[in-house]
């Protein structure tokens, strides 16, 4: 395998899952296709592997599990293991040459975005889906903090859930190589999801966009019916259903927090007409690139001019209403197709 510690997203593609994990591969595929993803780079899986071997962390973890023995384990055992192994991993420093490369990429990214020390998001990017999702750190500023968060991301593969899951599946417990995505933080004005076909009726002539003010996450404990926009792909006409949005999720420190939406904005659509048309344009690009209807996630930045403020952060093939069929529908379909058929 090529010894490369960092990749620009544009260098990766959908086949790069084992190079830098799923998230990075997907972002890379989108960036390559000319879609506006927040810019960034990936730390390779190989870098993780070198880190754990070279620092002796891997050996210490193997010893730890050997001492633990094969006996039956409960969640307390895994929680203790998780705590202690994370401590082992976090006590190690990234090899100096990797640190150097990371610093170079970080600086280049900052320059690209016209900042000196660009606030970035650091996210784990595993090659396979794991339960007990690994951590995400927002608003990471400066090389030193960045190095610390990368190590924390690596250490996060040893959550008690992840250890227990790997032990149950007979996967090696001492390591679970992952990539890391370093990406410009988008201070979201609004965010949400979109479907390039109507997700319930399966109508190919419609695109459906849903969104909320802020980071777009559902506000815990509050009524969070999103605004819904049905866009006709032919005529570009939009049908809006706007909901009251009293709360929003905003960036706060290294994470997020909940704030009140100013009263005058609560009943205003979270997307302007231009932004909607831009999303329609991007939706069509996605369909063309991936060759089928897509289920996407979007963000509109607070602090950038239109149209550079509209970003895509995720896309996957849409599960249409037909595919999303509940068990009940499947059984009814079978009854109609198999029993009451003559």
């Amino acid at each position: 395998m090529e010894e490369k510690w960092t990749y620009w997203f544009e260098e990766l593609g959908k086949d790069a899952i084992w190079v830098a994990g799923k998230k990075c591969a997907n972002l890379g595929e989108m960036a390559r296709a000319g879609l506006p993803v927040p810019p960034g780079f990936a730390i390779s899986i190989r870098a993780y592997e070198r880190f754990v071997e070279e620092t002796g962390a891997a050996q210490e973890i193997r010893d730890y599990f050997r001492d633990l023995g094969d006996g039956p384990k409960n969640i307390l055992v895994y929680e203790k293991a998780s705590r202690e192994i994370r401590e082992i991993v976090q006590s190690k420093a990234i090899p100096p040459d990797i640190q150097e490369t990371v610093a170079q990429y970080y600086q280049a990214l900052s320059e690209r975005c016209g900042a000196s020390d660009l606030p970035v998001a650091v996210r784990s990017s595993g090659p396979v889906s794991m339960p007990g999702q690994f951590d995400t750190y927002l608003n990471v500023i400066g090389v030193e903090e960045l190095n610390g968060k990368i190590v924390e991301c690596w250490a996060s593969t040893f959550t008690s859930q992840a250890i227990a899951f790997r032990a149950q599946k007979g996967m090696p417990v001492e390591s679970s190589p992952i990539g890391v995505a370093i990406q410009r933080v988008v201070n979201a004005k609004s965010a949400g999801v979109g479907f390039t076909i109507h997700p319930t009726t399966g109508d190919w002539s419609k695109m459906v966009v849903e969104g909320l003010w802020g980071m777009g996450e559902a506000v815990v404990g509050g009524a969070t019916t999103p605004d819904r926009f049905v866009i006709d792909k032919e005529t570009s006409s939009v049908e809006k259903s706007v909901s009251a949005k009293p709360k929003q999720v905003v960036l706060k420190g290294k994470g997020t927090g909940i704030e009140d939406v100013p009263t005058e904005k609560q009943n205003v659509p979270c997307l302007e007409d231009g932004e909607l048309q831009r999303l329609l344009e991007l939706g069509k690009m996605l369909e063309k690139h991936y060759g089928g209807p897509q289920d996407l996630e979007w963000v509109v930045a607070r602090d950038l001019p239109f149209p550079a403020n509209v970003f895509l952060v995720q896309t996957r093939p849409v599960t249409t209403a037909k595919e999303k069929h509940t068990t009940t529908d499947t059984i009814i379909d079978l009854m109609l197709g198999n029993v009451f058929k003559r």
């Binding site: 068990t327 009940t328 058929k341």
Partner: protein, 554 residues
């Protein structure tokens, strides 16, 4: 004989409109008393049309019914226009969804409703009730009759439809059909209400041994047992326990919707007969162990089939399997909550009216009430002494007694049996296919069998034949015999723990004989049509559930 119902078969006119009328041999052989036949053709028929309509069954609107010589004849109301089928399909989607999503919630809701109706009806003091109150009670009973049939058929159409789907899916997805033991293992071994009654009876037999009174049962006829038990303290103790059982499980008659049959509440002899039979089986027989084996076999079979279903199909297949298991249990449970319970509660009221009419001389005897129809009861109930219905009863009684001896053709129509079955297939009526009519046996001369039928429950057994027409004959059944009957009924269930196999003239995979045979793990051959006439008591026969054959060995 238009004086019983407007549903008497008019062989000329009814055959102009319909091609064929099929005998419901499962339910109306032997022929029903006039009042029972009247109620059956009124409410079971309207319930069927209600169920098909409420569920918006795509291909069938229920059946039309006729009475002919005290037997029931049926013809399916097939939806002929494909456009209408399409429209009905759309409504069907919405109507069946709640049952598929949460069967228990729907069914338990209905059970609650019905038990409340029965409780209300039972709360009337019949001795003290005035004639007017009895009249009102009669109308209440007829309302119960209508409502329980509506529920019965709505649920049954849904549940049987699911079961057919499960059978088909097992065939196409797993390559196992209903002659494969795995299929039967998958849907049996659940602890349903009917089985709980059997267990209580079995426990009562153990109790009789404990109390040292088992010999009373062995040396006496069922109706002599209770008086003899009155002589000892242990005996009185046992009787008390029996009555506690009867209170809970005794609202049942020997035959569903035949009001002329006594219920266990009036006469617990059938329960005592079952206890006798459990005692005859000997001390080491353990019903619970047998059930446990079935439950374990089911779990193993589930594991086996689920390992053969792909990941994508596992979700809906598992849900379908659970529903099919519920379907099998429903087939037994609905009998308890609807067929048996309603019959017993209605009979209770009818007997009170019968007593009142007999006392006034309107009829000669209490049981003559079963030879009247509702409008006649309404006519005389408030002032019975001014009416004499004895000649009418005598005429009907004579006619009915004659019908017991007469032959009843399996179909009346312009077309033959095979074409008639084709019509049923076109109706895709789940109840017709799964309970009443079943599939047509295919004679296979190479097997050199004496009778050809279909598989109700797999397995092979050889033994002495015992031909039983009516419930009272069950007392003659000896352990290890093979039961031969026109059909079996839910009150016959306990006998299945004694016998080695079953042959029934009529039935399909969700009729009583199949379900209970499956639960007891004995072979059942169904739809042989002429079993009760071809097989003689005491002959040795071999039944092969897998092949659906019966050999008479001599």
């Amino acid at each position: 004989m238009y004086d019983i119902t407007p549903f008497e078969l008019d062989e000329q006119r009814d055959l102009e409109h319909y091609d064929v009328w099929l005998l419901d041999g499962t339910h109306s052989i032997p022929p029903m008393t006039p009042l029972s036949g009247w109620a059956w053709v009124q409410y079971c028929r309207s319930g069927m049309q209600y169920g098909a309509e409420m569920l918006s069954l795509p291909t069938c609107k229920g059946w039309d019914w006729r009475l002919h010589d005290h037997c029931i004849y049926l013809t399916p109301l097939v939806v002929t226009s494909e456009e209408e089928v399409k429209q009905r399909e759309q409504v069907f989607r919405q109507r069946i969804a709640p049952i598929i999503e949460d069967y228990d919630k729907v069914w338990q809701g209905y059970v609650k409703e019905m038990l409340a109706m029965y409780d209300h009806a039972k709360s009337l003091d019949l001795e003290k009730a005035s004639n007017i109150e009895l009249m009102e009670h009669f109308e209440e009973l007829m309302h119960i009759n209508k409502r329980v049939w509506d529920i019965h058929m709505f649920m049954m159409y849904a549940v049987d439809g699911v079961f057919i789907l499960f059978e088909n899916i097992c065939k196409t997805l797993l390559g196992i059909d209903d002659t494969n033991p795995t299929f039967h293992k998958l849907v049996r071994g659940f602890d349903n209400e009917i089985f709980q009654a059997d267990r209580k009876l079995w426990q009562l037999s153990k109790r009789a041994i404990e109390l040292g009174i088992a010999d009373v049962f062995q040396s006496s006829k069922p109706n002599e047992v209770l008086p003899k038990l009155e002589g000892s303290e242990a005996g009185r103790k046992w009787s008390k326990e029996l009555y506690a059982f009867i209170d809970q499980f005794g609202w049942r008659t020997a035959r569903i919707f035949e009001y002329a049959e006594p219920s266990w509440v009036e006469d617990p002899s059938p329960a005592i007969m079952n206890v006798k039979q459990y005692l005859a089986k000997g001390g080491d027989f353990n019903l619970d162990d047998e059930r446990k084996v079935l439950a374990e076999e089911r779990e193993a079979a589930e594991k086996d089939v689920l390992s053969r279903v792909s990941e994508e199909q596992k979700g809906w297949f598992t849900a379908l399997l659970r529903l099919a298991q519920r379907s099998s249990a429903f087939s037994e449970e609905h009998n308890l909550y609807i067929d048996l319970y309603a019959t017993a509660v209605i009979r209770r009221g009818l007997l009170a009216i019968g007593n009142r009419l007999a006392a006034a001389g309107t009829i000669g005897h209490r049981d003559d009430i079963f030879f009247l129809i509702p409008d006649e009861i309404r006519r005389v109930c408030i002032d019975p002494a001014n009416h004499d219905l004895r000649p009418l009863v005598a005429r009907r009684r004579e006619n009915w007694a004659g019908s017991l001896k007469r032959e009843h053709p399996p179909l009346i129509g312009k077309i033959g049996f095979e074409e008639a079955v084709g019509l049923l297939v076109r109706s895709v009526d789940p109840i017709a296919l799964k309970i009443v009519v079943g599939s047509l046996p295919v004679p296979r001369p190479e097997l050199k069998a004496d009778l050809y039928g279909t598989c109700g429950s797999p397995g092979i057994a050889e033994g002495r034949a015992r031909v039983v027409y009516v419930y009272e004959d069950l007392i003659n059944v000896q352990e290890g015999e093979i039961l031969v009957a026109p059909a079996t009924y839910v009150s016959w269930t306990p006998i299945f723990s004694l016998i080695k196999g079953v042959v029934v003239d009529r039935g399909a995979s969700l009729s009583h004989a199949a379900i209970v045979g499956r639960e007891y793990g004995i072979p059942v051959v169904m739809n042989v049509f002429t079993g009760t006439s071809a097989i003689k008591n005491g002959q040795t026969i071999r039944v092969d559930g897998n092949l659906g054959t019966v050999h008479i060995l001599g």
